[in-house]
């Protein structure tokens, strides 16, 4: 009989930061208890638990759709049962950094859609913002309820070989994945109920309540408030999540066709006629939200919604226009924003970023394509990306042409050797690269859900963790402070 320990026998920790071990066979001190508990589990049992977790995902239909794949093909996101663990010290630092960042980004959004002081003071080049395709002229002068623009953010963090967390992307549009955070926790709890009783892991199950509070906070003051989640529909890749959040919050799951606007008020179409709705967590991009204001060919939007929003008859989370802060060239300026608006140094660093729109950066990028990751500024999900060190000469040349044709449309970053976490491969553990997406909610205050989505690149050596590119996920455990403090 072997215990789970044997599955670590050939585990390698050279190179990247390891999330679990500090030396071969020696976990970071905070993880000692978990390691020991694992060692009391028999290997066969662990493998059986892992299989059962995968089966549960299929049975319960926790699936997403990969675009470009055969239409309507649903897949489960591969799940690794061994959690990624974050110490309370690391988490407290992260939390402060994220709150600071979200606060600055919100001030930035409010500024560029009003006085544009940060542009006038030449902290950020005016041309950079005005040329961003995600900058919405329609939002100029907009006053979202309580001055909040980015209610829900999913910030992507990575960890470099010295263990420092860096911000890779701010996702302020419709970040997805939080349903996996909650479902992954369920799966792990079911697999290791005893472990959970012994350790103090901070809960993530409060997320739907937190989100509900945000909607309640921004909702116009009416007697009977009614909320909804707006989805593009069942064929959207994140449909499961939209339905999940509506179910957990106990609010309506809405499609565009369910909504009508009359006299700048929004109504839902019910079996008893039309009833008003007051706050919507929308998971439809700006572009498709309202064909009268944005893309006229949108079939999933609601004509007149934007006008109702402007009049203050409806609250939307997130506000339209937040995408401009997601632009990867704008990202490079977040540390300056923090200094400009808050008078503080950024607590979380960015990955160094070259903006191809700037001449001297462009020259460097083109000369060093083989050492850089190049990203389209207005894409997400791992699309429109070149991993220079892995690409062929032909692929690099092709990309160089694209960059030269539209320098503003690209940024480049040095390849960061992402940290690794032990992940089941066959019948043993190997190190696989991970990132971390915590979720930040901005309502009455800014709150960070203690946990997040750990995405894992399942191919050996791969640094791309996106689910659309074959990545999997892990539960993320944030260990409770010794003081038992709850920061959520």
């Amino acid at each position: 009989m072997y215990t789970t320990k044997i599955m670590f026998t050939d585990y390698q920790i050279q190179g990247p930061w390891d999330e679990f071990f500090q030396a071969p066979g020696v976990p970071h001190p905070a993880f000692q208890a978990i390691f020991e508990a694992l060692n009391h589990t028999r290997k066969e049992d662990y493998l059986a638990l892992h299989k059962e977790a995968e089966r549960a995902l299929i049975r319960t239909g926790i699936t997403f759709v990969v675009y470009g794949d055969k239409e309507g093909q649903e897949k489960i996101m591969p799940f690794d049962l061994l959690p990624r663990i974050v110490t309370s010290q690391d988490w407290n630092r992260l939390e402060k950094g994220l709150i600071q960042r979200i606060q600055a980004l919100n001030l930035f959004l409010d500024d560029i859609y009003h006085d544009q002081k940060i542009l006038k003071d030449k902290v950020i080049p005016e041309e950079l913002i005005l040329s961003a395709s995600s900058f919405r002229k329609e939002c100029i002068g907009l006053n979202p309820p309580k001055g909040i623009w980015n209610h829900v953010t999913g910030t992507d963090l990575i960890r470099n070989p010295s263990g420092e967390f860096l911000v890779l992307e701010d996702n302020l549009r419709c970040p997805s994945g939080v349903s996996y955070v909650l479902e992954n926790r369920e799966l792990v709890k079911r697999a290791f109920p005893h472990l959970f009783e012994k350790l103090s892991i901070r809960p993530v199950e409060t997320y739907p309540d937190m989100l509900f509070e945000v909607l309640d906070h921004i909702c116009p003051g009416v007697q009977e408030k009614r909320f909804g989640v707006l989805t593009p529909g069942v064929y959207n890749s994140a449909y499961f999540e939209h339905s999940f959040l509506a179910r957990k919050m106990g609010v309506e799951l809405l499609e565009g066709q369910d909504l009508v606007v009359e006299n700048d008020r929004v109504y839902i179409r019910t079996t008893h006629g039309f009833e008003p709705i007051h706050a919507i967590y929308r998971r439809i991009d700006d572009d498709f939200l309202d064909p009268k204001v944005f893309r006229p060919d949108s079939m999933i939007g609601v004509p007149g919604l934007f006008q109702a929003y402007k009049k203050g008859n409806l609250a939307l989370a997130n506000a339209p226009g937040t995408g401009v802060a997601d632009d990867k060239a704008v990202y490079a300026f977040v540390p300056e924003m923090i200094r400009y608006y808050l008078g503080e140094d950024a607590l979380l660093n960015n990955v160094p970023t070259y903006r191809c729109g700037r001449e001297k950066d462009l020259g460097y990028v083109l000369a060093n394509l083989d050492k850089l990751v190049v990203k389209a500024t207005n894409e997400s999900g791992g699309y429109g990306m070149l991993m220079g060190h892995q690409a062929s000469k032909a692929q690099r040349d092709e990309f160089a042409l694209k960059i030269q044709a539209n320098p503003r449309g690209y940024i480049a970053q040095p390849v960061v050797d992402l940290s690794q976490a032990p992940t089941l491969v066959g019948d043993h553990f190997e190190g696989r690269r991970v990132d971390l997406r915590p979720y930040v909610l901005y309502g009455k205050d800014i709150k960070v859900l203690p946990g997040g989505l750990t995405r894992v690149a399942l191919r050996p050596g791969s640094l791309v963790v996106n689910s659309s590119q074959g990545g999997g996920s892990k539960d993320t455990w944030v260990i409770q402070d010794d003081q038992g403090g709850d920061h959520a």
Partner: protein
């Protein structure tokens, strides 16, 4: 509740009931003659005839062999009422209203979907079609059991029951009609043991043989028709289904006029009347009137419009079918 959601609940149940009844058609004990009778093609062809979709069948299939007909009824991807398509559409509707039904119900219909897609992927190879149909029927029972035991008796529940019962009434009428399409080899066979076994098979298809015997003992066509049409205590009889549909429609404050009239007509009718008119014609008329009720529900609940609205209606997942 949202009109779209109400429509999806209703269609989820219609499709699931339709899938279950297709499984019942196939599983009806007709197969007991199949091995050694020369007119077996005829029996199977009757299953195509009652669907009302012979035209589609003739366009896509060259013979009325047992294999072709089973393929048509169970696996055909292009035929909207095949068991496979019904389960896919039921599950698609369920997926769009996961926040409305219970998790237990969702998991059951998702499991059924996974089993049916798996069966289809193997083109039915390695699985006996009758055993497969039986498992589909069981899964539907389980789903309906969960529906009755895990959901609030709110609007959604009544829309679900309405969809299920109206579909069931329609399918019972079609099962009864199967006999019209089965030609006996010789008119002299009417009333023989052979004829009676076929009637017994019909009753078995609706799980009604034992309940029938408690009332009538002997099998004869007139009594079978009376039982399936008018026996208010039998849960799959047309009258029973309509009476209970009416209750749900009343609770939902929906358009009841046509349904009430139909139910009253059935309550006061008798089987002699139906036989005199011709059972097939009688059933045909019933089916048309039930379609009208379905249309009333569609217009009353699922397609409300603002007077100012000019936008084209997108419809909902379940396509209206007459």
């Amino acid at each position: 509740m949202l009109s779209r959601v109400a429509g999806s609940v209703y269609w989820l149940f219609r499709y699931l009931e339709r899938a279950q009844n297709t499984a019942r058609f196939i599983n009806a004990d007709f197969n007991q003659y199949l091995e050694d009778q020369d007119h077996q093609g005829n029996l199977w062809a009757s299953l195509v005839a009652v669907t009302g979709d012979q035209e589609f069948y003739q366009e896509h299939y060259s013979s009325y062999s047992r294999e072709s007909i089973i393929h048509f009824l169970t696996l055909d991807e292009d035929y909207d009422n095949s068991l496979y398509r019904c389960v896919v559409q039921a599950r698609e509707n369920a997926r769009s209203i996961r926040e409305i039904i219970s998790s237990e119900m969702w998991e059951e219909i998702n499991s059924l979907y996974l089993a049916v897609t798996e069966y289809r992927r193997n083109e039915g190879r390695g699985t006996d079609p009758f055993a497969f149909c039986k498992s589909v029927i069981h899964s539907c029972y389980l789903f309906i059991g969960l529906f009755y035991s895990t959901m609030n008796r709110g609007e959604a529940w009544h829309f679900g029951r309405l969809g299920m019962l109206l579909e069931r009434a329609d399918k019972t009428s079609r099962i009864l009609d199967v006999k019209y399409f089965i030609l006996l080899p010789d008119p002299a066979w009417v009333g023989t043991a052979y004829d009676n076994t076929q009637w017994a098979a019909l009753l078995k298809a609706v799980s009604g043989l034992e309940m029938y015997r408690k009332i009538y003992r002997r099998i004869n066509p007139r009594d079978v028709a009376e039982f399936l049409l008018f026996e208010k205590d039998f849960p799959r009889s047309i009258l029973h289904c309509l009476q209970n549909s009416e209750e749900s429609l009343r609770i939902l404050s929906g358009p009841q006029k046509n349904l009430v009239r139909l139910r009253t007509d059935l309550e006061t009718a008798n089987v002699a009347e139906a036989m005199q008119m011709g059972l097939h014609e009688y059933l045909d008329n019933l089916q048309n009137r039930m379609n009208q009720v379905d249309l009333d529900i569609f217009q009353g609940f699922f397609a409300p419009k603002l007077s100012s609205e000019t936008r084209k209606d997108h419809g909902y997942l379940g396509q209206h079918q007459s």
